[in-house]
């Protein structure tokens, strides 16, 4: 992973500025006014209580999928299967949320748990195959993404279908995790328990990896599997464990979308994209929980605000993707930023030869 040096507070900030600049250039080329566009975006995010609430809603799944990807990366694995684990999480939550009828204080947690477990198990398969047979996790993840898609669709269609529509029946009220009380405060934005829980997950990630014995092992394996082996750590077991935990984060993301936002699960024709976006969020957040907190906020805000920008100025919302991609580019190729800062005398140049 790219490593910062001490002058590195500047790096993310400059990268964000440069990314926004790239977006501005693209807007100009298309005949749009960047100032108007960006202010419309900002206004959409912060304008009123509803928008703030919805922005938070937008951020939540990204935070969780970002944590999922980062957790796996930290322990040496590339979980490109977060998409599939997310979908399985949705499915698990739907199954429990729709098919069962239980009192509220059991039903909702159970449904959330089911989502997490479905995601975790789906990911554990990948971990198992890598641990046992050395099979490259990238292929298995990609394959399982699609299997998850079709499997979920099938389960919805056979067990949960809402007649006449391409989606499941509504989730039982007792399984919903919307925060009814706050709904008024945020003017009916779809706030839900997933938001505070996502923050808890950030904390969990940090504490688990850096303060516990298990986290010590996972980090060792991620940095140096050979040294970890010599230290007696059980690598295959930890591979499966890592993927399982990563998948649980992803499953949670899906579960909350079903139980807190839509209250049903659609039959989908293609993968939702939260998993791939999670990769970007994780990378921009340097695979660190606090970084992910910030990068998911940035990305979620950009995403939500893009509709406001589009509405106000007509600029296609895809500009936001270009901005985010550019930011990551500048962070990744930090040499470019450093060169720029040296040339503009912001930081002293070091003599290298």
């Amino acid at each position: 992973m790219a490593k910062y040096k001490t002058d590195s507070f500047l790096l993310p900030i400059v990268s964000i500025v440069l990314g926004l600049l790239c977006g501005a250039v693209v807007l100009l080329l298309g005949g749009y006014d960047p100032f108007a566009a960006y202010s419309a975006l900002f206004a959409k995010v912060t304008g009123n209580a509803y928008d703030v609430g919805e922005t938070l809603r937008q951020i939540t799944p990204l935070m969780l999928t970002g944590l999922a990807v980062a957790f796996a990366f930290r322990t040496g694995m590339f979980n490109i299967g977060v998409e599939g684990q997310f979908v399985m999480g949705m499915t698990g939550a739907s199954l429990v949320g729709i098919l069962f009828s239980l009192p509220g204080y059991i039903h909702a947690p159970l449904a959330v748990l089911a989502g997490a477990l479905f995601g975790g198990l789906w990911a554990a398969i990948v971990g198992f195959l890598k641990a046992k047979r050395g099979i490259n996790e990238v292929i298995v993840c990609i394959m399982l993404n699609w299997v998850a898609l079709y499997l979920s669709n099938n389960l919805i269609q056979s067990l949960l279908m809402e007649p006449g529509q391409q989606r499941s029946r509504d989730v039982a009220d007792s399984a919903s995790v919307s925060i009814a009380g706050l709904l008024g405060f945020f003017d009916n934005a779809r706030v839900h328990w997933g938001m505070p829980i996502a923050l808890l997950c950030v904390a969990f990630f940090y504490v688990y990896l850096w303060k516990t014995k298990q986290g010590y092992e996972l980090r060792a394996i991620g940095h140096s599997p050979t040294a970890a082996e010599y230290a007696g750590m059980n690598i295959p077991f930890n591979m499966v464990k890592t993927m399982a935990i990563s998948g649980m984060f992803a499953g949670l993301a899906g579960a909350f979308e079903v139980l807190g936002v839509f209250h049903y699960q659609s039959v989908i024709s293609s993968l939702p994209g939260y998993g791939f976006d999670g990769i970007a969020v994780a990378l921009l957040g340097m695979n660190h929980p606090f970084g992910i907190l910030l990068s998911s906020t940035l990305f979620g805000s950009l995403n939500y605000g893009s509709s406001g920008m589009s509405f106000a100025t007509g600029a296609p919302p895809e500009v936001v993707r270009i901005v985010f991609g550019s930011i990551i580019f500048f962070i990744a190729a930090q040499g470019i930023v450093r060169l720029l800062l040296v040339k503009t005398r912001v930081i002293p140049g070091k003599k290298v030869s």
Binding site: Y150, P316, R321, I322, I328, F329
Partner: protein, 312 residues
């Protein structure tokens, strides 16, 4: 039907060939998806304008192919500059490509087509070419010897890439760069130059793969024209053990598994099987084959590792 799966496999083969070239030189390229998107977009848009404004028909298609190749190649420079010159993490810069490609292509589509997220449908696209005599063989003929020009091109390229990689000095040096860049560098050969060329070639091939989809079956470009093929191409590359013929086999296997689904739909006894399980087949089969047969696939030795010649 069989038609569509062959086209699908063609695109996979082309993109995975690109992946092979890049990765064999030591540069991981998870941006194949984005590069295919760029190629598909460029092909659709350029051909559209050529057909509507310049009234070109057949030739426009080949120019469109060329444009897609050029666009993919240029776009891949983003990855190359970041990963090679600025020594960024290669996975990150690959993901950057995906993001930027998705964003910029759709942005441009909306700009050029009055806010619509889909390009106008092309009036003329590639039609199948029959190989004389062989394509008249009953049953097998139409299936195997009547295909789009892009498919034949892909097959030629498989052989060409294999030849270059394993029989020519350029290929030897490229493979050496992916295994032990230090060896190449201390022999006075430019590691940077080889990797740049390899990445640009991968962009060209992936772009071609994207064009192969747009200019044959879909006839237009929209947000889900390329949805996942680039990642499947990665799987095909790994499955084929970074060998062009291996990738061809893997892509055909994949396409074949998809075709089984279409074939089964003909038979009434298969009606009971839910459609989704049939769609799942290629993916499940791939995993099963991996588990049973392939096992460990060994990537090029120096893949993903940043080469810094000044490091002591």
């Amino acid at each position: 039907m069989l038609n569509i799966t062959l086209v699908y496999s063609t695109a996979l083969v082309l993109a995975s060939l690109g992946g092979i070239l890049s990765e064999k030189s030591g540069v991981e390229n998870v941006g194949l998806e984005g590069l295919m998107t760029v190629g598909a977009f460029t092909a659709a848009v350029s051909v559209h304008f050529m057909q509507t404004h310049w009234q070109l028909a057949g030739t426009s298609l080949w120019i469109g192919v060329g444009a897609a190749v050029a666009a993919g190649s240029l776009f891949s420079l983003i990855h190359a500059v970041a990963a090679i010159t600025f020594k960024s993490n290669q996975v990150i810069s690959g993901i950057v490509i995906n993001f930027l490609a998705a964003g910029s292509t759709l942005y441009l589509v909306k700009l050029l087509f009055e806010g619509s997220a889909t390009t106008d449908t092309l009036s003329v696209v590639f039609s199948k070419v029959d190989i004389p005599f062989l394509s008249s063989i009953p049953f097998l003929g139409p299936a195997l010897f009547s295909a789009y020009p892009t498919t034949y091109l892909a097959l030629l390229l498989v052989g060409a890439v294999y030849f270059v990689l394993f029989k020519t000095p350029a290929g030897l040096r490229l493979r050496a760069t992916g295994e032990h860049p230090g060896a190449v560098d201390t022999l006075g050969i430019s590691v940077y130059r080889i990797r740049y060329l390899a990445v640009m070639a991968s962009g060209a091939l992936a772009g071609l793969g994207g064009a192969a989809i747009t200019l044959t079956t879909t006839s237009n470009f929209t947000y889900n024209t390329i949805s996942g093929q680039g990642f499947i191409a990665l799987a095909v590359m790994i499955f084929g053990k970074w060998n062009p013929f291996g990738a061809l086999g893997a892509a055909m296997f994949f396409g074949f598994a998809q075709a089984i689904g279409s074939i089964l739909q003909i038979y009434s006894w298969a009606d009971g099987i839910p459609r989704e399980y049939i769609y799942m087949l290629p993916y499940v089969l791939t995993v099963l084959v991996l588990v049973g047969v392939i096992g460990k696939a060994r990537p090029p030795g120096a893949i993903g590792k940043i080469y810094d010649p000044t490091a002591r």
